[in-house]
C-alpha cells in the first residue's frame, strides 16, 4: 500500500507543479465540445442526444491524453526502470497509474460537463447529478484500458498515434452504453431504467481493471 500511495502522491505532486495534464485535458475537452456544437445541427437531433455524444467524444480524447501523459513522466530519464527495479509490484504500479489517470480525467470531466451544459443550453438540475455514476464508470473503464495500452504504445515509435487506433475500437461497447445511458439521464430517466447499459459498463470495467492489473508487468518491461 505504501508503494501505491508513494507513486500516486508523486504523480499528483508532479501534476500540481506543472498542471500540464489537467490543463491539456480541459483545453482538449473544450475544443471538442466547441467543434461539435458548431458541426452538429442541434435543431434536427434531440439536444440531449447530441450533448451526451459530444461529452463522451470529449471524454475519450481527454482520457487518451491523460493516460499517455501519466506514463510519459516515467519514460523521462528512464524512471520506469527505477520503478521496475524497485520492490514495487507491477500490479500496484498499474493501480497507482490508473488512480492518477482517473483523478486527472475526473477533473477534466467536471469541466467538460459544465461546458456541455453551457454550450447545449441544458439546465444544472438532477439530470446532471444522474450523469455522475455513468461518467465514473466510463472513466474507470477507459482509464484502465488506456493505461494498459499506453504502457505498450509508449515503447514504440509513433506510440501516440497507435494508442487511439488500439483503444477506441476496444472501448466501443462501453462507449455505446455510456452515450445511451447519458442521453437517458439527461432526458430525465431514472438510473434503474438504464440498468442494461450500466451492466455493460460495469462488466467492461471489471474486465479491463483485472486485465491491466494482471498483464501490466508483461507489457511495461523491456523483454
Amino acid at each position: 500500500m505504501s508503494g501505491f500511495s508513494a507513486v500516486l502522491r508523486k504523480d499528483l505532486r508532479l501534476e500540481l507543479r506543472s498542471g500540464e495534464s489537467t490543463l491539456a485535458l480541459l483545453a482538449l475537452s473544450m475544443l471538442v465540445l466547441v467543434v461539435l456544437v458548431f458541426a452538429l445541427d442541434a435543431g434536427r437531433v434531440r439536444s440531449v442526444d447530441v450533448a451526451a455524444g459530444a461529452l463522451w467524444v470529449a471524454m475519450v480524447f481527454a482520457g487518451m491524453l491523460g493516460a499517455n501523459r501519466a506514463l510519459l513522466a516515467e519514460r523521462d530519464n528512464g524512471a520506469i526502470r527505477g520503478l521496475l527495479l524497485s520492490p514495487l509490484d507491477p500490479g500496484t504500479l498499474y493501480a497507482a497509474k490508473l488512480a492518477a489517470a482517473l483523478i486527472f480525467m475526473a477533473v477534466a470531466e467536471v469541466g467538460a460537463v459544465i461546458l456541455m451544459v453551457l454550450f447545449f443550453n441544458l439546465e444544472f438540475d438532477a439530470s446532471i447529478a444522474r450523469l455522475a455514476p455513468i461518467l465514473a464508470l466510463g472513466a474507470i473503464g477507459f482509464s484502465a484500458l488506456a493505461t494498459l495500452l499506453s504502457a505498450i504504445t509508449g515503447r514504440t515509435r509513433g506510440g501516440d498515434m497507435l494508442l487511439p487506433i488500439l483503444a477506441v475500437p476496444i472501448f466501443v461497447p462501453a462507449l455505446i452504453a455510456g452515450v445511451k445511458a447519458s442521453a437517458a439521464a439527461l432526458a430525465g430517466a431514472p438510473l434503474d431504467s438504464m440498468d442494461a447499459w450500466l451492466k455493460i459498463m460495469v462488466a467492461f470495467d471489471v474486465l479491463f481493471v483485472t486485465a491491466g492489473y494482471l498483464l501490466f508487468e508483461h507489457v511495461v518491461g523491456e523483454g
Partner: protein, 233 residues
C-alpha cells in the same frame, strides 16, 4: 562458504538478428568487485540490465541471489542497486523529493531522514530543495549514485559510474563503492577505462563484440593505458 551473488551460465542476448552478448560465463562472490571494460556497443550495459532483471536473456541463465533474473521476486530486487546512463530521477521533483520517493518504495524507515543523509553523503545537501532539471549532468550522476545506494543493496550494478563526474564527484562515488564493498556488497561496474579505487581490488574483465573474455590481468590493462587513477589527479 558463502554462495555467489551472481552466476552467469552461457548467457546470450540478441536484438533481432544482431548478437549483443555471446556465451558469457561469470560469477561474483559477496564483497567482491568486478570491472567490465569494453568499447561502445560491446554489450556492457545490456549485461547489467539483464542482471537487474530489466531485460531477459535470449538464452542461458543469469542467476542473482540464487534466482533467475527472468523472475526476480520483490525481496531480491530490493537487494539490487543500479546506476545506469539514465538517472531514473524525476526532473520536476527536487533532489530530496526524488530520494524520499525511492526511500518509500524501498520501505525505508523515515524516508525523509534517509534522503537528507544521502544528500549529505553525495555533497548535495545545499541543493536538496532544487529541482533535478536544474542540475548539471555531474550533480545528477551523484544523486543517481545516492538513489542506487539508498537501500544499502547487496549487489550494485554501476554503468560507467564515473562518467560526467568531476574530481570531487569521482572521489565521493569511489568512496561510496568502497564502503559498499566493505559491508559485503558485490559490485559490478562498467567502464571504458578502469578506474583505480584506493583500498579496493577489482577483478577486470574485458568484453568485446559481446564475448566476455576471461579475467584480464590488471598489468595488461595498465600497459594498454586503460587504467586511470581517480585519486590524486
Amino acid at each position: 562458504m558463502a554462495a555467489p551473488v551472481v552466476e552467469i551460465h552461457n548467457l546470450a542476448k540478441t536484438y533481432g538478428l544482431a548478437p549483443v552478448l555471446r556465451e558469457v560465463q561469470f560469477r561474483l562472490m559477496p564483497g567482491a568487485g568486478a570491472f567490465v571494460v569494453g568499447g561502445n556497443g560491446a554489450g556492457k550495459s545490456t549485461l547489467l540490465r539483464i542482471l537487474a532483471g530489466l531485460e531477459a536473456p535470449s538464452s542461458g541463465n543469469a542467476i542473482v541471489f540464487g534466482q533467475d533474473t527472468r523472475k526476480l521476486a520483490a525481496r531480491y530486487r530490493r537487494r539490487i542497486g543500479m546506476m545506469a546512463h539514465q538517472s531514473f530521477l524525476y526532473p520536476n521533483l527536487t533532489a530530496c523529493e526524488n530520494l524520499e520517493f525511492y526511500a518509500e518504495l524501498y520501505s525505508i524507515a523515515e524516508p525523509r531522514v534517509s534522503a537528507e543523509l544521502w544528500l549529505e553523503r553525495v555533497g548535495l545537501a545545499d541543493v536538496a530543495n532544487a529541482r533535478v532539471r536544474t542540475f548539471s549532468r555531474g550533480m545528477e550522476q551523484r544523486l543517481s549514485a545516492a538513489r542506487a545506494m539508498l537501500a544499502e543493496p547487496l549487489l550494485l550494478l554501476l554503468d560507467e559510474p564515473f562518467a560526467s563526474l568531476d574530481h570531487d564527484g569521482s572521489e565521493i562515488v569511489a568512496s561510496l563503492i568502497r564502503v559498499a564493498i566493505e559491508r559485503g556488497a558485490a559490485v559490478i561496474a562498467t567502464a571504458h577505462a578502469v578506474p583505480e579505487i584506493e583500498g579496493v581490488e577489482f577483478a577486470v574483465y574485458e568484453i568485446s563484440h559481446g564475448r566476455f573474455a576471461s579475467q584480464v590481468h590488471k598489468e595488461e590493462v595498465r600497459r594498454g593505458g586503460r587504467i586511470r587513477s581517480l585519486l590524486g589527479r
